[in-house]
């Protein structure tokens, strides 16, 4: 296939699509993203803040090593990457051909506004006579038929909503640049030679209008969870105040109804939508921030599905510290309340009393829309489907799923011999431009604008002021910079002239953004030596203030200097610690990318918890990977070996392992993947150790799957969930227990159909499609008895037998059972890795799990660039999930391993060693762990792969030995001077 740049198509530009696109771009592919809607960002566009810190964080997906090729600002405002092209309002029609050379037919709906010409002036929107409910704000408030589809995305052009446009032509007449074109004929176009396709189309949310119990459409104060996000958003219809849509009154009492559209056989929704429980808790907490102290927030639920590592503590804090009330009752319907627009809920409380309560507002926690199918082309060879296109996923689930899909696609391409451009990408380093070696010569380009009538006199004023500036300044006027004619002239001026710095005085910066990129290709001008000032948009400004803007731009350019940081070499091999499912799949994913892997396993066998896994399919899938790992010449397996030291920086680690024999071995590697796993927890709750017939659910699994089980007389078996877990000190859900207990129970019923099986539980955690196992278990007559942390069942060992005492909360009647076996869901704990944590300097949670850099957006990165984590070492997970995390970790590692060297980016910290006192304050404060001591050289160094140029080090450095390129003191002072 040669060395031409292979092109990847990503369908869908939500979280998954963006993640997959960035993954490919990070390893050198050209990516094209198509998105059905007019904007990039998916559901996240509407959600300002996320669990667990209740802040936004989408930007954490942006490249952190190759930062110069991608704009480094809010991803909810748009995605701008040199290797990623985005086509909005576009859908895939068909895919044919073979992987590596796919032909994709696409259909595009015109936006009605030419993105080359639109300057975001908004005149079209002003004159548009059509007002419709604002879809971005979930129907709250109104918008025009021509509008910015996402109000905070000021980088995409205006767009026409053809469904409501009457084609009256007013906007066309009003547009000063002639950008509006009232032509909505779909156009079809082909994309040839596509190497692979990733489907990341996401999931639509359930529309509650079809249920006549909630009064949607009838009661204005009944809203969906997405609409609620818009209400509390500062970019929403109420500017962020929590008020009722009906009358704008302050909300004092609000309720969330869970499982609207989920866990409902009547609508064919035999699944849990996984994300809504945490979503509701987060919304309740955000609401409480905006409400008065005495305000009330109530969540009505069946099972509070807090199945992630930190979810249970988040829920507990919401309840105990923030006063969110949790009521276990599914509400039947919503009725009008006593006061106008109030809403009444009737429910049965935990003491079985009927309660009627009025609310100001009710939020419906809508989940996944049922019955949605993937398109036929999703099964075409060379097409990979991200998990979030198959079902609703939370953010980390979407991110991991996208990385898995991208990883599998790139493994296929590697196998086909299709490579990204070149391992040493021709990355024109903006930082090393020749321009920095020369004295700055600034060219100012004044746009004469083709639209604003008095531009001429304004420019006369500006020009006469500019002439008074000290130093040489070339000034030129160009008509209509935003048009091709204008831009061609700019290029001509640069080629003919001798300027090595460029300032534009024009309109909205976003109009120029993409065009400046073109300059890089055609001239010696890089975007790091270009500045622009907006002299036309917004309110009329005085010449004085415009001149200040220009003066600042010129000052910034004159103070820019060349980078002198050298690139960092990369060792193209990986160290994987732990040979369980997660480690194995990470190792194999890397080896399939032709990366050498050192797999270090403490025990004498690979497979980790495989020895306890009984499920046939799961066993097979792990064994298959295990066999491939063992037979792969690129993977060097070291069993009965332990890591004793590791040092270095991302791309360049040196580690030492020690074998059982005492022999030591040094390994050079570019990345480290920690897959140290976990194991069954121990507990002394429920008399665990007092009777041989009280066993853990893992032992129970072994028992019921043993051939001898059918010969046993089994009349009754009791299971108790959350034994010693989901309460301090082990206050987290182990994620695997409910599903495992249910499978055990079903197996018992299969072998002994007449046996009684009772499951005492707090919340059944069958998230996603595993809800079906719960449904099946009930169908088979397994009895479920819920309990609270205060009403735990009691286990007594009496005259050789077992007695389990509890209360059935529905009937309020005591339950006393004498089971043959008692199974306790003890949960899982991470393996003890204190030594490793110390060696790598990484953080763990209070429960001993390795902390990721960001639980939502960077779930398999650690805080240390180049060190990744997956599987039980990070958080409780099922084996299939752990394996996916392994693949995701491998994909993240490839960002580094696919390079021969890490090239310095423009914005970096730099140390002046001559005046550095080695006080190490910078090492302590660096949020990216980018600082280290080079012991051989006796210097404090900056790891250029980790440094993000944030400047914390520069601020703390007591003798200004640290500085940030482009933000050095003299430059900053000059800019401030210009601004005053």
């Amino acid at each position: 296939m040669g060395n031409k740049i292979a092109k990847i198509l990503v369908v869908g530009a939500g979280i998954s699509g963006i993640r997959a696109a960035l993954d490919f771009a990070d390893i050198g592919y050209q990516v094209c993203v198509v998105e059905k809607s007019p904007a990039v960002g998916g559901i996240l566009l509407q959600l300002d803040r996320q669990f667990p810190n209740n802040h936004c964080g989408m930007c954490r997906m942006l490249p952190m090593i190759d930062r110069d090729v991608c704009s480094q600002f809010c991803l909810r405002r748009g995605l701008f990457h040199d290797s990623i092209s985005v086509h909005t309002s576009t859908e895939v029609v068909s895919i044919e051909g073979n992987p590596g050379q796919l032909k994709v037919v696409l259909s595009r709906q015109p936006r009605g506004v030419d993105s080359e010409l639109c300057n975001f002036c908004g005149k079209c929107e002003e004159v548009c006579p059509v007002s419709v409910p604002d879809t971005f704000n979930e129907g709250l408030g109104e918008r025009k038929a021509i509008c910015l589809p996402v109000p905070h995305q000021t980088s995409g052009p205006y767009s026409i909503d053809w469904a409501s446009c009457t084609k009256c032509g007013e906007c066309e007449k009003a547009c000063p640049t002639g950008a509006v074109k009232l032509d909505n004929e779909h156009e079809t176009f082909d994309m040839e030679d596509v190497a692979a396709v990733i489907i990341a189309t996401g999931t639509k949310l359930f529309n509650p209008d079809s249920v006549d119990l909630y009064g949607c459409g009838e009661f204005p104060n009944v809203v969906t969870s997405t609409a609620f996000e818009r209400i509390i958003s500062s970019s929403g219809p109420f500017k962020g105040s929590l008020v009722r849509p009906s009358d704008g009154r302050e909300v004092k009492k609000v309720a969330w109804l869970q499982c609207v559209g989920s866990r409902n056989l009547m609508i064919g929704a035999d699944y849990c939508s996984s994300a809504c429980c945490m979503f509701a808790i987060k919304e309740a907490l955000l609401a409480r921030e905006k409400m008065s102290k005495d305000a009330e927030t109530v969540i009505f639920y069946m099972d509070m599905r807090t199945f992630g590592r930190d979810f249970q503590r988040y829920r507990d804090r919401a309840e105990k510290e923030s006063g969110v009330r949790f009521v276990r009752c599914r509400v039947h319907s919503i009725e009008p309340g006593e006061n106008p627009d109030d809403l009444r809920l009737k429910y049965v409380d935990s003491s079985r009393k009927t309660v009627e309560e009025d609310f100001d507002m009710i939020v419906l926690s809508t989940g996944k829309e049922p019955g949605r199918k993937l398109p036929d082309y999703a099964s075409h060879e060379g097409v990979f489907v991200a998990d979030s296109a198959k079902g609703l996923k939370d953010i980390s689930g979407s991110v991991i799923g996208a990385e898995v899909a991208a990883g599998r696609a790139s493994r296929m391409l590697k196998n086909l011999g299709i490579m990204p451009a070149d391992k040493d990408k021709d990355q024109k380093s903006a930082g090393q431009s020749k321009a920095f070696e020369e004295r700055p010569r600034v060219q100012v380009v004044l746009c004469e604008c083709g639209v604003i009538s008095d531009a001429g006199s304004l420019l006369d004023g500006i020009e006469s002021e500019l002439e008074k500036f000290p130093g040489r300044l070339d000034i030129v006027r160009v008509k209509s910079l935003c048009r091709k004619e204008g831009w061609d002239k700019v290029k001509q001026i640069i080629r003919d002239g001798s300027a090595n710095r460029l300032v534009f005085a024009a309109c909205n910066k976003n109009v120029l953004g993409p065009k400046i990129k073109e300059l890089e290709e055609d001239t010696e001008i890089f975007d790091s030596i270009v500045e622009s000032a907006d002299i036309y948009s917004g309110d009329e400004r005085s010449i004085d203030s415009l001149i200040k803007d220009l003066d600042m731009a010129v000052s910034r350019l004159r103070s820019r200097r060349a980078l002198f940081e050298h690139s960092q070499p990369v060792t193209g091999s990986a160290l994987v610690i732990g040979g369980g499912p997660a480690g194995l799949s990470a190792a194999l994913a890397l080896a399939d990318h032709k990366i050498d892997v050192f797999l270090v396993e403490k025990s004498e066998t690979l497979g980790g918890n495989l020895k306890y896994i009984i499920d046939k399919e799961l066993r097979q899938s792990i064994e298959e990977i295990l066999n491939k790992v063992e037979g792969n010449p690129r993977i060097k397996i070291h069993k009965e070996a332990e890591l004793i030291t590791s040092s270095g920086i991302s791309g360049n680690f040196t580690s030492k392992i020690q074998m059982k024999t005492g022999e030591q071995k040094t390994i050079l590697h570019g990345v480290t993947i920690l897959a140290t796993g976990g194991t069954a927890a121990e507990t002394d709750s429920y008399s665990m150790d007092d009777h041989e017939r009280i066993v853990s659910l893992f032992e129970m699994e072994k028992l019921v799957n043993d051939a001898s089980f059918s010969g046993q007389a089994v009349k009754s078996i009791v299971m108790i969930q959350c034994a010693g877990t989901r309460e301090e000190p082990r206050n987290y859900c182990s994620r695997v227990c409910c599903i495992k207990s249910l499978n055990n129970a079903l197996k018992i019923k299969q072998i002994h159909p007449d046996a009684e099986v009772y499951i005492f539980y707090r919340d059944i955690m069958t998230y996603g499609d595993s809800e079906r196992i719960y449904t099946e278990a009930r169908k088979k007559g397994i009895v479920f008895i819920p309990f609270d942390i205060d009403t735990k069942p009691e286990v007594l060992v009496e005259s050789g037998g077992l007695l389990v005492k509890g209360i059935d909360p529905v009937l309020g009647v005591p339950v006393e059972l004498k089971p043959d076996w008692l199974s306790l869901a003890v949960g899982v704990v991470p393996n003890f890795i204190k030594d490793l944590v110390k060696i790598f300097g990484i953080e763990t949670t209070q429960d001993g799990f390795i902390k990721e850099a960001d639980s939502k957006w960077r779930p398999v990165d650690t805080g240390q660039e180049g060190i990744f984590v997956c599987g039980l070492a990070r958080a409780p997970a099922r084996a299939d999930e752990a394996m996916k995390e392994g693949e995701a970790a491998a994909q993240r590692a490839l960002r580094i391993l696919s390079k021969n060297e890490i090239i310095p980016q423009r914005l970096l910290a730099r140390v002046r060693h001559s005046i550095c006192s080695m006080c190490s304050l910078c090492i302590e404060v660096c949020p990216f762990n980018a600082r280290y001591i080079d012991t051989a050289e006796g210097k404090i160094m900056v790891d250029i792969a980790s440094c993000q140029g944030c400047g914390t080090c520069a601020a703390i450095c007591p003798n200004s030995a640290t500085l940030i390129v482009d933000f050095e003191d003299d430059g900053i002072m000059n800019v401030i001077e210009a601004a005053l």
Partner: protein
């Protein structure tokens, strides 16, 4: 209710027809939707979720011996919203059917027995029935605009068979006239059967399937005999 020590098999569960979907009682998640929606929850200990739970646990005896099944109005609001599609109303009716007949509250079972014997719940003989109906009919004919009104008994080939609620025959005769006025003005071709005219099926209400079937059968028989296609059933 006694302490639960084991799950018994439930006859109610096996007998109750499955609707609206094929969901067994066992599918109940105890979510509370039915309890929250039921207009009676909390009144004299009534709670549909409790009833479902009792059946799920095989507590047929306790349920049948309680008055819970008789408190239900059978409105079906619970079943309408049940996310698992459990046959709550069928369960309750099946439980009623399993109550010893002498323990059926009020006069309902007595009415069933009388109806089986006489064709109506109050045991009114045919001649008394005809007398009462004709008497009310004559009263109506005395009102202006209805001088030509006559009660059409057992009219072959009529369009509509009119069954009657026994209460209207017994005490609230006046209410019959409202129906008849409409029929008269609308020129409806209607008739009243002189036998088996009962328009209330207490077999349905008391869970007595055999009796219920018998009463329905009699009406069908009347319709076939008189060759009538439409039925007015006031229940």
């Amino acid at each position: 209710m006694d302490t639960i020590t084991s799950i018994k098999s439930s006859e109610i569960k096996q007998k109750a027809p499955l609707r609206p979907i094929e969901s067994l009682t066992d599918m109940c998640m105890a979510c509370g939707t039915c309890s929250a929606g039921c207009p009676l929850t909390g009144i004299e200990g009534f709670d549909p979720r409790k009833i479902v739970r009792m059946v799920l646990m095989g507590m047929d005896k306790e349920l049948i011996e309680s008055k819970l099944p008789w408190l239900c109005t059978m409105c079906g609001k619970c079943e309408y919203a049940c996310p698992m599609g459990i046959n709550i109303v069928s369960i309750i009716r099946t439980a009623r059917g399993m109550v010893k007949r002498e323990n059926v509250p009020g006069m309902i079972h007595k009415g069933v027995e009388l109806c089986l014997k006489t064709g109506n719940n109050i045991g009114l003989p045919k001649e008394d029935f005809i007398f009462i109906i004709e008497d009310v009919g004559e009263e109506l004919a005395g009102e202006s605009g209805f001088s030509d009104f006559k009660i059409p008994f057992d009219k072959n080939g009529a369009n509509l068979l009119h069954t009657l609620h026994n209460k209207l025959v017994n005490t609230q005769n006046e209410d019959l006239k409202h129906w008849w006025k409409i029929f008269h003005i609308a020129k409806e071709d209607w008739t009243i059967p002189s036998q088996n005219w009962e328009g209330v099926n207490w077999g349905l209400f008391s869970g007595d399937d055999e009796a219920m079937k018998c009463f329905v059968g009699r009406i069908v028989e009347n319709m076939e005999k008189l060759e009538i296609a439409n039925l007015m059933y006031p229940e």
